[in-house]
Symmetry: C2
Subunit: 366 residues, 2 copies
Amino acid sequence: MGAMPAPQKPGTKLAPGPETSRRKVTIFDVAERAGVSIKTVSRVVNNEANVREKTREKVLGVVRELQYKPNAAARELSGRRSRTIGLVYENAEEFNYTNAVLNGALGACEARGYSLLLCPLNLPNPDIGERVRGFATQARVEGIVLPAPVGDVVEVTGALKDMRIPFAAIAPRDPLPAEINIGCKDEQATFSLTEYLIGQGHRSIGYIKGHPEHGASAKRFSGYRRALEKHGLAIAPGLVRQGYFDFDSGKTCAAELLDLPEPPTAIVAGNDDMAAGVLFEARERGLPLPGRLSVVGFDDTRIASRLWPPLTTVRQPILQMAETAARLLIDRLNGEATDAPQEPFDCEVVIRESAVPLTGIVPAGC
Amino acid sequence: MGAMPAPQKPGTKLAPGPETSRRKVTIFDVAERAGVSIKTVSRVVNNEANVREKTREKVLGVVRELQYKPNAAARELSGRRSRTIGLVYENAEEFNYTNAVLNGALGACEARGYSLLLCPLNLPNPDIGERVRGFATQARVEGIVLPAPVGDVVEVTGALKDMRIPFAAIAPRDPLPAEINIGCKDEQATFSLTEYLIGQGHRSIGYIKGHPEHGASAKRFSGYRRALEKHGLAIAPGLVRQGYFDFDSGKTCAAELLDLPEPPTAIVAGNDDMAAGVLFEARERGLPLPGRLSVVGFDDTRIASRLWPPLTTVRQPILQMAETAARLLIDRLNGEATDAPQEPFDCEVVIRESAVPLTGIVPAGC
DNA sequence: TTGTAGGCGTTATCAT
DNA sequence: ATGATAACGCCTACAA
């Protein structure tokens, strides 16, 4: 071992410094620390045979200690195995938040020769921070797209900032969490929607707020309030309820609104799912729809047009927003800086039959 | 150039043979053929500066000619750029075919240290074959999961077989297209559903078939037919319509059924979306629901419980099916053979209020 | 403008 | 059972 030139451990000659401790740990580090050759480490890591149990344990110990993760690229290059499978599926064009985001991001990636890796989260969750950290490390991503409401989860954004991984947020709240933030005119859209109801003669309009964790909830509510103010309508007590963007909370809030001494003649729900809950509750009470109660939603999800009556709602360009987020992120990654903050996207009010003019002649029974 | 050892072109010493022509073309091949160094090729491919226009063109020509695609792993290993971004998103637990498939496959991958790459398709499409080929090549996947109806698209399966890429099909039709085929008891479930209606006293039961391209469509229809036969009920002419798994076709077919001289008292739709169309059509005609018409669907998608009346339907374990497909595929990739074909999964009938006993006393008006 | 040398971190081969 | 060494295909640094 004397005269033999020490195997040049990759990375060894990097200038030492504060960053050194965070240098990627390689198979050489593990081998050295365990007093074995890299091949033995490789054997252990890949569960190959021909390793003494004692050696295996020792190596595994070091692996844990050093938190060694094999480099996927090197593995693939050398071993010709990508450890990747594909999912080829029919892309139903139906609207769905997650799918729209996916398609938008995928489109931007495809156009630029990038790949997209997924990390679904179940919120709320105590250890998202760790999950995201693991994802970013394992998946070796250059940047990350964070659709609402994840862009507002500090455990996630914190971990990312910590790891210095650039990210783009879709529809986040203020203050904007990312370098790249993509939004749409939620406020303006709800304002229009509410004005539309006012134009139909409604004077008592209830509101069901969205999930407080979503940035969009507050913006939408603002639009509602601004419309009422503009037309000199006060918000009667109890007319605003707190929902959570889901069907059940919409139904519950609708029940509360309809139980009011003077129930509203129209209800603005923070999204379609809650609007569906409102319709359901009204239906259960036998209220003639839309005659007795006008309802509007937000998102134009698939169920909006399937419900009875079909829902008047707002369509956000989520696909484009996601596409833009991914595109700007990739551009930024490639040093093609985007200085100006992205202009918010326009939304489109979709008129259907769930909101009708308040005629004063409320049809009886049916 | 004389004494200089020829640069050992990677792969050169592979035994020549029939496979040789299909060997991966590398940057060396391009360089040699273009009469330049690999660095120049690299410059061209990466759009770097300092390449004479003429040289650039020549290289690009060879690149096209040889169909050279840079090896992503080598690129990443050397350049420390993964050309991959991540999408961290909240995984709404709501049911949705695509999402369920995604989550199932993702789960299996995560558990085995695999990555999942997505390739959404828009069917029908003249050049899916090329798209899939491109995806498989570019994404360098080891295997592919094909959820319905893609497993039945011969352009896709053909391309994959051609490229010798193993794949697993979810809910394909017979004859089974893949080595690994995962199904569920569609026939049995529709049989139960139909028997349920018969048990409620219905004797005239319409059926709206699903998309003919889906293997499940035929199986479900069989279940319906078997139930009628078992109970000695004939299928009156016009009682079976051809739908396409979408809302509009369900609505259209419902109109046809309801226009029959003797319209059915119950309708079995091949999926929830068509069932929603049926409800919508009935609602437009002012038919009291569910009293005047019982409707059942299949899939238990989210809208099933949002509709009025809430839909009696069938829940398939799609998530588990996708998980199993991906798991078996990965196992196979790793040589852990699975000899026995996978047993079909059970489905679960979900009883809600859209189907009610035929009382004989049809409520008038409303 | 173009080319050469060397390294990226792993697996494969073949000795020991 | 274990290890030295050569690929793997590309990019960066530096030389010409």
